[in-house]
């Protein structure tokens, strides 16, 4: 289990990604950048990537993060590892992934705010290209939830 046709973000998606444009134009946010982490094969490497992401965000003095993956099933181990590493460093975060009816196979206490990218009736990987990819609506939800979490933690934005 991993990336499937309905969740996979194409090269064209990355080029016109709604989330990036939304955050980049937001006057309430100082947008530091986009961290790209791979979803490697071995579990030890998945933990390694997640931990490095946490360390980077702390080093950047990041106040909040939106963490997404265009994948599902076993790849949730990578998402959980990254969100645990970020959460342990006390950085507010929102996760975004296909949840649907299949759920998230690896979870932890730091994954308390998740946005679902499912658009299918079945709530699963449908093998239909881009059906369960993030849209502007989900991007907006992520930004709103992150702002809420940050304002609760810091008292203001």
């Amino acid at each position: 289990m991993g990336v499937g046709p309905s969740t996979k973000e194409t090269t064209l998606h990355h080029f016109r990604d709604p989330l990036i444009n939304l955050i980049a134009e937001d006057p309430d946010i100082d947008f530091l950048g986009v961290v790209i982490g791979g979803i490697p094969d071995r579990n030890v490497d998945k933990k390694f990537t997640g931990e490095r992401i946490g360390a980077w965000l702390e080093a950047m003095r990041c106040d909040g993060a939106i963490v997404s993956e265009d994948s599902w099933g076993n790849s949730n181990v990578d998402l959980a590892a990254a969100m645990e590493a970020i959460g342990r460093r006390d950085i507010p975060q929102v996760g975004m992934v296909l949840i649907g009816t299949q759920g998230i196979v690896d979870q932890n206490e730091y994954m308390d705010t998740m946005v679902d990218t499912n658009h299918s009736k079945e709530g699963t990987e449908t093998n239909i290209v881009a059906e369960n990819c993030m849209t502007l609506a989900e991007a907006r939800k992520c930004v709103a939830l992150l702002k809420l979490k940050m304002s609760r933690k810091y008292g203001h934005l």
């Binding site: 046709p5 790209i36 990987e125």
Partner: protein, 258 residues
């Protein structure tokens, strides 16, 4: 009052393609208010010759809305862009709108070039159009379909060769696209990498495919959304890299599998 510090600026000029045809040579030229793309009629032969792993390769031009066609599993959909000035993430990028490349493939044993789940079948049933990552109903699709030798659907060199072949088709288009003067574009978008001092610092973290074989994501090719000279995230065992918002928006990533 919102203070902002501009670190760099990226201008993306788009050139809208209103017709794609086969012809004597590959070109992208002005045609009235818009642009016309011509693909060399025997381009498939040239692309096929680019790798010993290919048993066959076809290139089709699908008109807007012509979606009821049989396809193999979709590896990727990508725009054709070129850096006209500066490095990725700054300067000027020229991109074609109205026509996008869709890459599909299968091996001679019937194994689709895909990971978990494949999207082969009728395109109108297997693709959600009008999404950020897919063509709209008004767009042309240049469909490149590869029949690869048995066993190479799941080896890195298989999908790599398919993406590399597409570059042979895109290069002459990029050469034309690069030369258009300021003001000849149909749309212009200016993106700025900004610092908002005193505001909350936010990162976007994206986890992308990198398990091995056809699960792969490349970054920082020679041209935006390109493949040539790109690096694989498999080779760095998934280690995180950081992109400025403009580098990301300038097509820093190329997805190998769909």
């Amino acid at each position: 009052m919102n203070e902002e510090i501009v670190k760099r600026q990226l201008t993306i000029r788009s050139f809208h393609c209103h017709e794609v045809v086969f012809g004597a040579a590959t070109s992208f030229v002005k045609d009235g208010d818009y642009y016309k793309m011509t693909i060399k009629k025997d381009i498939a032969e040239d692309l096929k010759k680019s790798s010993d792993l290919f048993e066959d390769l076809t290139v089709k031009i699908l008109k807007p809305g012509e979606h009821h066609v049989k396809i193999n599993s979709v590896m990727d959909v990508f725009p054709i862009s070129v850096k006209a000035l500066g490095n990725l993430g700054e300067g000027i990028t020229h991109t074609i709108t109205g026509a996008y490349v869709m890459l599909t493939g299968v091996d001679t044993n019937g194994r689709q070039i895909c990971a978990f789940g494949n999207s082969d079948g009728w395109m109108d049933e297997k693709v959600t159009f009008n999404q950020p990552g897919t063509p709209s109903d008004e767009d042309y699709i240049i469909l490149v379909d590869v029949l690869i030798k048995e066993g190479y659907a799941t080896k890195r060199i298989g999908p790599d060769a398919c993406h590399a072949a597409c570059e042979i088709m895109c290069e002459p288009l990029r050469a034309n696209l690069k030369k258009f003067r300021e003001g000849s574009e149909n749309e212009k978008h200016v993106y700025r990498d900004l610092i908002h001092p005193g505001k909350k610092k936010v990162c976007v973290v994206k986890l992308v495919s990198g398990q091995g074989a056809m699960y792969d994501t490349h970054y920082f090719a020679k041209d935006p959304s390109g493949f040539t000279d790109s690096r694989s995230i498999i080779d760095s065992v998934g280690s995180p890299i950081i992109l400025s918002p403009n580098e990301y928006r300038d097509g820093a990533l190329r997805c190998l599998y769909g």
